[in-house]
Symmetry: C2
């Protein structure tokens, strides 16, 4: 079969399965999740061997070590897939929840019911465990999914897909509810993001390059996660010990995550006291500082920052540091140079904290906490399919609720409009 | 100034004003709405004269009577603009509302705060009163707006725009918070929908042609309202008197609205009893019926329906009628041929009603009520900027809340991530 026919057939099957899934009971969906965990456990040896063959092919092709690391299904990653399925099965089902049901003057009762989006396309890179993470969240939220992993993980993803198919069948749900694409052809992605008839939303998971390319090509709406250029602003009224602990945690707890601090703003009133102390902590952790002129005057060994540094997501032990004149300048800096991901203020001043909370236009805004908390698990969503830096629909960590929308429901007793 | 520079300057000014508006107090926004109503009342004579000149030019150009009708600012439409401004001023301010604030195991408190989308572009056709409707909803929800009305209403819209500017100035808000485009150049629309740097969402209001064209060209997300091919399904267990009243109201109360019934589905068990009675009512109202074979066998004078009739939004005294074998076939028909706008079931059977509610994939789904209720006012939103047939973000009537989104807010006391 040619690629276009294959993708059209996949899309059509997903659309049909979506209608069944939207009406499926919570019990059936949870049974499918647990049966998939059972199938994975049964096939453990076969799965690890499929993954070993992907790894061997990857080494032959001289893939980068970081990529090979992500590709590997270690025993702990394998177990995490099983635990993940069990956890998603335990989460409350968002589908069918009715909110704000109220009587209107006409006598009709109007509310909003949470419903699946329909068919979700997930495009991701080398990690085979994303296949299970993404599939389980789509299934629990009543959506059919089409999964497209990296070509380097094809054997692993196919083996996982066979376990999912058994799990669905055991629960009496259609196999097309979760489809793992079987072709390594890159043009499959191009088809997937343009099948607006069959696909309702695309969730890309991966590097910025992948996401930008998909957003450009897509005719289907994309829930996207671009940069995480996160800020901590140490205000004049900050508890300085608290500010040191938060800044150090936000920068150094992990360097490669999107909620890591990349720029530090310090109020001019406290910079002379605060910056040298923090710089010592950061130097001990091996973090390079790139600072504005005022920072250079206060701390030794700082590299002069260029305009481009204020925009940068380093994902590395590097931090841009700027001294600002006060709250207004801090907010302006963040809204101008930031990426609308996660930004925090450290202060004891209630009014300043509340103004920062309201006026910083980011998907997560924090008072006296580390930016590293911006995460679906830490926010109590139970799981996350990604973090959205968009403004429409879902902002910030996207869990089950972000994979649904609300329709209006009306209960009448024969009312007609006058 | 050339068009591109003019549009860029407009967009930049809107973006700057949006930051001010996002932080503006409810009192300031309400004061601007009431001051605009005052300015309109003061300028009544000048406004009606500007509108008269648009009407005269329209007649010269031999615009269609329906278009001229929409263009005219009658005294009652003028008064409705003032009342509308007062009503929007009275609505609760959605901005800053915090929901679901909860403590997490880490000790941080996480909630979601409602915030404006930013800059909204509104593209509409001949009705000058839309200028006030749209501007007032954008302002109250804390969004800057760029308004682009039809070229035939240019003088009216300019005159209204001057009143809005005075209202904003009196309340101390930036004039660029609401900008009425001053050029009749059609390419201004093309620019507006592609200025992703300055515009966050486009809301087109008008015919399907306008909306399709804008959706095709837009690089900015569009909240769109396409067809309203609405259904009423009369189930076997319907109260037949109720079903007759609802069907008659849904079809004949107004023919040209998007929530008017365009297709009627009748359960085969009751078709022989129900259809002839309803057909009499509809014939008396002058409605043409286009029916399936079973309908033709039951009612005289019905035109045979073609496949295309099931897709049709007639916006006219025409109704497609189909006899279906039961609930499953009704749901399948609606999800296949419908436009996901508004669909209703008439039945006394609770299980059938609840299945219909859940499984019909439309922005409004109703039990025992006329489809004509699908409307922001009838739903208690206080006002509506349009009705969305999209699945992401907002579905159904879009009021103030649909012009906002939710960001995460985190309150900590120095927590860091372990």
């Amino acid at each position: 079969m040619d690629l276009i026919s294959y993708m059209q057939q996949t899309g059509k099957a997903a659309r049909e399965a979506a209608a069944v899934l939207a009406a499926a009971s919570t019990a059936a969906k949870d049974a499918a999740l647990l049966a998939t965990a059972g199938a994975l456990a049964e096939d453990r040896a076969a799965l690890l061997s499929a993954n070993a063959s992907d790894m061997a092919r990857g080494r032959e092709k001289q893939l980068q070590p970081a990529l090979l690391d992500r590709l590997e299904l270690t025993p702990s990653r394998f177990d995490a897939m099983l635990t993940g399925l069990e956890q998603v099965a335990k989460l409350p089902d968002p589908v069918g929840q009715v909110d704000d049901l109220r009587f209107m003057p006409s006598g009709i009762q109007v509310g909003r019911m949470r419903v699946p989006l329909g068919v979700i396309g997930i495009i991701y890179e080398s990690r085979p465990n994303v296949t299970i993470d993404a599939a389980s969240l789509c299934l629990k939220s009543g959506n059919a999914s089409i999964l497209r992993g990296g070509s380097e993980a094809l054997a692993s993803n196919q083996a996982i897909g066979r376990c999912i198919a058994r799990g669905l069948a055991q629960a009496g749900l259609p196999e097309a509810a979760i489809q793992v694409l079987e072709t390594p052809d890159r043009e499959a992605v191009g088809q997937l993001v343009r099948m607006a008839e069959y696909v309702d939303v695309i969730v890309p998971r991966g590097g910025k390059g992948l996401i930008e390319r998909i957003s450009r090509e897509a005719e289907v709406p994309v829930i996207k996660h671009l940069d995480g250029n996160c800020h901590v602003y140490v205000a004049a009224a900050a508890d300085q010990e608290m500010a040191r602990a938060i800044a150090l945690n936000a920068k150094t707890q992990r360097y490669g995550t999107c909620n890591t601090m990349e720029s530090l703003l310090v109020d001019a009133e406290v910079a002379a006291q605060f910056l040298p102390a923090l710089a010592g902590d950061l130097a001990a952790a091996g973090v390079e500082l790139r600072g504005c002129e005022q920072t250079l005057a206060l701390v030794n060994g700082v590299v002069p920052a260029e305009e481009s540094d204020w925009y940068e997501e380093y994902l590395a032990p590097v931090l841009a540091v700027r001294v600002v004149a006060g709250l207004d300048e801090a907010i302006r800096h963040i809204n101008r140079y930031g990426s609308r991901h996660t930004d925090a203020i450290v202060t004891r001043d209630h009014s300043a904290a509340m103004r920062f909370l309201r006026e910083v236009d980011s998907s997560s805004v924090m008072i006296n906490a580390s930016t590293r908390f911006a995460d679906g698990f830490e926010y109590g969503l139970g799981a996350e399919i990604g973090i959205s830096t968009d403004k429409l629909h879902a902002r910030g960590p996207v869990g089950l609720e972000g994979l649904t929308s609300q329709k209006y429901v009306v209960f009448g007793e024969g009312q007609t409009r006058q």
